[in-house]
Symmetry: C2
Subunit: 187 residues, 2 copies
């Protein structure tokens, strides 16, 4: 991607995040984003069609970053729920979320937080299907595969919301331990 495009994109995301942390999504005007990002009007519209489009793109970008490492290291790490270090991928994701706190809190606390959550669950589902449930023996449940996937990703998302609401007091490792303690026994 052209250096200029990337810079402009970053500037818009940065501006949007800043604005989101101080006022609600619907109250933010495109003009404000343009001013905060310090770009020309036509430049904004050459990147995004609407404010919703911007939000959608930002979520996509964010998650692809959050999940990219986890997905790329697939070969070198054992991220499955079975094995020596079960669910270490969750720790990875929690770290990324914590490091992106500024952006994520901004998005989550806006009226369109549900959009963010939809993306989050979608990515999580993919991840869990690809990595986690492989090689795990079903012990205590006869529930179908897709039910379990939904259960794991849903629980995780709810936990993350709780974590953020409580100012991320727990460390990623600690939180991952708690999570495994309520997930591992039932699958």
């Amino acid at each position: 991607m052209d250096r200029r495009q990337q810079k402009t994109r970053d500037a818009i995301f940065e501006a949007f995040s800043t604005l989101l942390s101080s006022k609600s999504y619907t109250k933010i005007t495109i003009q404000e984003i343009i001013d905060e990002a310090n770009i020309g009007r036509s430049t904004f519209y050459s990147h995004f069609e609407t404010k919703d489009d911007l939000l959608k793109e930002m979520c996509t970008d964010l998650f692809s970053h959050v999940f990219s490492e986890s997905l790329n290291t697939e070969k070198t790490h054992d991220f499955s729920l079975a094995g020596d270090n079960p669910g270490s991928m969750f720790t990875h994701i929690l770290y990324h979320l914590r490091d992106n706190k500024k952006n994520i809190v901004g998005i989550l606390t806006c009226e369109s937080g549900e959009l963010f959550l939809r993306f989050f669950k979608q990515y999580l589902n993919e991840l869990i299907i690809q990595h986690l449930l492989i090689g795990v023996e079903r012990k205590n449940t006869t529930a179908p595969e897709d039910f379990l996937v939904n259960h794991v990703s849903g629980s995780f998302v709810e936990m993350v919301q709780w974590w953020i609401k409580n100012n991320m007091k727990q460390s990623p490792e600690e939180l991952a331990r708690y999570f495994l303690s309520v997930i591992l026994p039932i699958i």
Copy 2:
């Protein structure tokens, strides 16, 4: 000035400052500046001819900022050495210098610090000629005007170097008081 030009200029200055704080002027290559600023090679050369040129421009910019407020408020403030609040302009300048610490320390500690100092003295001289010596009666000296100007600006520059070297421990107000205590009695 075109928005893009200003951004590029800022990026180059920022990159240059960053590099100056970690390595010496002569060891810095233009390529490094280009990489750190994240711009294209031809872009750099459309802004500056050489590294020296960049340094010169950066000094000029810096001082025009440092001195701009002092010069612009000429009408509203009494910056003369005579009057109620003698030499309050010095406090102003010291504040600006402290707030630009990052840039200035970088420039001063490089081999071309003398270039910076030359600019500094030049600006100071202008300022002192325009504002400070007006309306001050010569009491204890028969020395000519330009001698006094050089004495005041020279002393100030030396003081600033001392201040920076000692990590700017004193507040601008405190330092300005000291300065006046050694300048006012003799003119």
